[in-house]
Symmetry: C2
Subunit: 333 residues, 2 copies
């Protein structure tokens, strides 16, 4: 197996300290390759980068017709949110309308990703709840699917539960490939995650961006989800995060979503292209540098969009006293 | 440039999620290679892994004769400590004997590495001080060098300060190579760090373990520092850390020290071997898996030592709910 190319490096002073390898691909809905580097056929776990694909089950199973998810709730279904007030409020609102509560969430609890939200929680002497889990919006959406299907909500995170079967079927339909039992793991929030080639995920995002190759329900669902995410970028991630800043700057033209362990996926909607990227070693900052370089090269940024992307393509490295001592930077292939 | 081999990987479920490349070498004091993998000639920043080499300046500059550092204070000079009570007390004690205080430390302040120490600080509503900085023991030692040299302590972290010149000279003497201006960066604690080949650092540790090739002062200083570190493993890192656990288990036979961004160095003292290792992407957990595999293969562990090392050679991966969903594991070359 050839090594993937170095797509980002960390420089300290005048010498390279760390090297990050990876692979990426930009494709159209027919699978035509716009750009690629590294092994894009090697299956990778997409983790949270495909939450918008997983959320298609909401449309498949008529949950959207029954519960009339707001655009904010759809954005949260696609989100790895930071546990800020707007995130917690939005998830609570959907759960209340479903007649459920945070006790029905099976994602587990972790401290909010946002530092101010963490400090506020600590100041109140409160423990984090499943509502603060970055995946709580996705899980609320999955609970709505369980109710719409008329199946018990308990155990909805399990691989054999009808909800996860529906989610799996939606992802398979969009990427046009079967997800295989011998490439399966459990995600941080306890649902299954299935490894598949970057090429397949990228093409899936191109199909979601264009509707091409999708049935009417998936095409309409994809358009609704992408509109929701790009209209409410703060709900999809949080203050200062690359996904939020990029979607704000591109004003609907780009849907961008990171996933744990160095995955980045999305669509350049006006061009009808999807992309997928993985940093081999799972480093998130490196994967953000890589996807910033990808969007600089392929999303046709204007000056303001370029300025946002360049913050991530070259990230200052600071020491304990706050002095800049180097940088993480993308390397163009 | 050939890619270094994969020395650790993360498995999620039944599929590999992340791959970590690196290089390592185990050598004797003559430079005879016991084992090696990857490019050991490529210069790498050793960061905190060579604090015991840097601490030799305490002996060069007669600071030890003037201030009679205790064995605990020497262990702290070699330490990346966790800001626990014993660490803060030990550093405070040396500073007081020097007639200095935490205000003289130029390392900056960060939260204690130890979770209980962090919680205790938060519970008191207190901010972290430079005493909690993991490098405060090294910096206190450097302040003692400044006093012994009769130079101002202010600015002792700067590359051109007499203290850093002394530290640089000590490291050069031990590794037997010049540290070059075109391979220099600033460490997290604001002192200079110089990149040099893993081979040179490993041989330096073999020379420190044996005294071979060192002048009398360095040989005596190295023995005192290794005795201090291996007699007080908790002071060199902290509760639960690999460096502490390994040195406790090996009861003087192994001096093990990690450095930021995936560096691991040390000596198998009874064999007279030194070793040095770097994970290309800077991942610490991966570098700990790698060094555990190195010590399993080369340090001749008994059953208890083996059990300690195996905890790090295969580290369980848990999700938010605490379920084991995979592992980080070393790959033998």
């Amino acid at each position: 197996m050839d090594a993937n190319p170095i797509l980002a490096e960390v420089v300290r002073g005048n010498w390279v300290e760390n090297r990050h390898r990876g692979a990426f691909i930009v494709v159209d809905a027919d699978g035509g390759v716009i750009a690629a580097a590294g092994d894009v056929e090697r299956p990778v776990f997409p983790r949270s980068a495909i939450k918008s694909m997983q959320a298609l089950a909401i449309f498949d199973r008529h949950a959207s017709e029954r519960f009339h998810h707001t655009q904010e709730e759809l954005a949260l279904a696609c989100a790895s949110h930071h546990g800020e007030d707007a995130h917690v409020a939005g998830v609570s609102q959907l759960l209340a309308r479903l007649g459920l509560s945070e006790r029905d969430l099976e994602c587990g609890a972790h401290m909010p990703t946002n530092a101010k939200a963490r400090a506020a929680l600590r100041a109140r002497g409160a423990e984090p709840s499943p509502l603060h889990n970055n995946c709580s919006g996705k899980h609320s959406g999955m609970l709505s699917v369980a109710l719409a299907m008329g199946v018990p909500t308990a155990g909805y995170v399990e691989r054999e539960h009808d909800v996860q079967r529906a989610v799996r079927a939606a992802v398979e339909a969009v990427i046009g490939e079967e997800l295989r039992e011998d490439r399966c793991g459990t995600d941080g929030c306890s649902i299954p995650t299935w490894a598949a080639p970057l090429r397949a995920f990228a093409r899936g995002f191109a199909r979601m961006a264009t509707g091409q190759g999708l049935d009417r329900t998936h095409a309409a669902g994809a358009a609704a989800l992408f509109d929701a995410a790009t209209s409410h970028p703060h709900l999809v991630a949080g203050t200062g995060h690359i996904d939020t800043l990029v979607m704000e700057a591109f004003e609907g033209r780009v849907m961008q979503k990171g996933g744990a362990e160095g995955v980045q996926c999305g669509a350049i909607r006006d061009k009808g292209w999807g992309y997928a990227l993985k940093c081999d070693d799972g480093n998130m900052a490196a994967s953000q540098a890589m996807v910033a370089a990808l969007l600089l090269a392929h999303a046709g940024p204007d000056a303001r969009q370029r300025a946002v992307l360049e913050q991530f393509a070259r990230q200052p490295l600071k020491n304990v006293r706050g002095t800049v001592v180097g940088e993480m930077r993308a390397i163009s292939t």
